[in-house]
Symmetry: C2
Subunit: 133 residues, 2 copies
Amino acid sequence: MKAIDILNQHNLKRTSCREGLLDVLIEAQRPISENQIRALLPGNYDRTTFYRSFKTLEENNIIHKIVVDSQFVTYALANEITHRHNHAHFYCHECHKVQCLDEVPVMSTPLPEGYEALEKEVIIKGICPECHA
Amino acid sequence: MKAIDILNQHNLKRTSCREGLLDVLIEAQRPISENQIRALLPGNYDRTTFYRSFKTLEENNIIHKIVVDSQFVTYALANEITHRHNHAHFYCHECHKVQCLDEVPVMSTPLPEGYEALEKEVIIKGICPECHA
DNA sequence: AATGAACTTGCAACATTGTTGCATTTGACA
DNA sequence: TGTCAAATGCAACAATGTTGCAAGTTCATT
Ligand SMILES: [Mn+2]
Ligand SMILES: [Mn+2]
Ligand SMILES: [Zn+2]
Ligand SMILES: [Zn+2]
C-alpha cells in the first residue's frame, strides 16, 4: 500500500509532509521516533507540522503511537490486526528498538467495581531475540 | 511511616527536598505529578534537584513512576504490595487522576521465542468510579 | 563541638516531546 | 484556472528530563 492511496482512502489531503511521513513509516516496518523519521525524511518540516500530521494520521487509525518513556515516543503504521485488537509492545534495553507484538493480544484485566476501561497500554521491556545471543 | 524513617531505613541522607517530597507523596496517597508535588511542597527546589531526588527514591524502591503520557508523568509511594508484585495503573479521562490498582495483578504475557521480559507496564485509561456516576 | 570527606544542591545549558495562535501557502474541486 | 477550506511555518510556550560544575550540607569521626 502506497502512502498516497492511504491518504486518499481516508479523504485526507495529500501533502508532502504526510506522504513523506507515511513513506518512512511504511519503509521502517517498526515503530520509530520523530527524530528517526526526520533523519529518514527528505524534506525539512516544522515540528508543529510534524505533530499535526501525527495527530491527523493517528485520529484516522493510520498510525499509532507508542510511549516507551516520557522522553522516547515512537510511531508506527497501523494494520488490520493492530486496528482491530489491541496489542502489546516490546522495548529492548540493548538495541533500543521498539516492536509491535501483533501476535501478543492484550488480555482484558478484571477491574474493581465502577471502573470503565476504554484503552489499555501494555509495554514490555527487556531483551529482544537479536540481542539475546 | 514518616519520611525521615524511610530515608534512614535506606541509608539515604536526610535532605529537606527528599523529606518534603516524601511527605507530600505520603499525604497524597496516590500518584501525582512534579507540578502537583511542587504546589503542595513548602520549599522551592530546583527542578534538577527534584529529578535527582526522584531518581534516588525510585532506585531505592521508595517511590515508583507512572508514565501516563509523554506529557503527564506521576510518582507515587511504593509499598510492600507494589514492591513485590507488579500492578496496573488507571488514568481517568474525566478527573485526570491516576490510581495504583494494587489489587489488579499484571498477568504474565506469553512472548514469542527469544524475548526476555524484564519489566512490564500496564496502564488502563477510562472513567473512574467517582466520575462514572 | 569541630573537622572533613562524601554527598547533595543550585545554576546554566541543553534535549525531547508537544501545543496554541496567527499569517501565509497549498491542495482539491468546481 | 480560480476559490476556499485545510495545511503549513513561525513564534512562543509548557512539561519532562539530563549533564557539568561550583558551592553548600550531612553525618561519621575525632
Ligand atoms: Mn503497535
Ligand atoms: Mn503504582
Ligand atoms: Zn535488542
Ligand atoms: Zn475520574
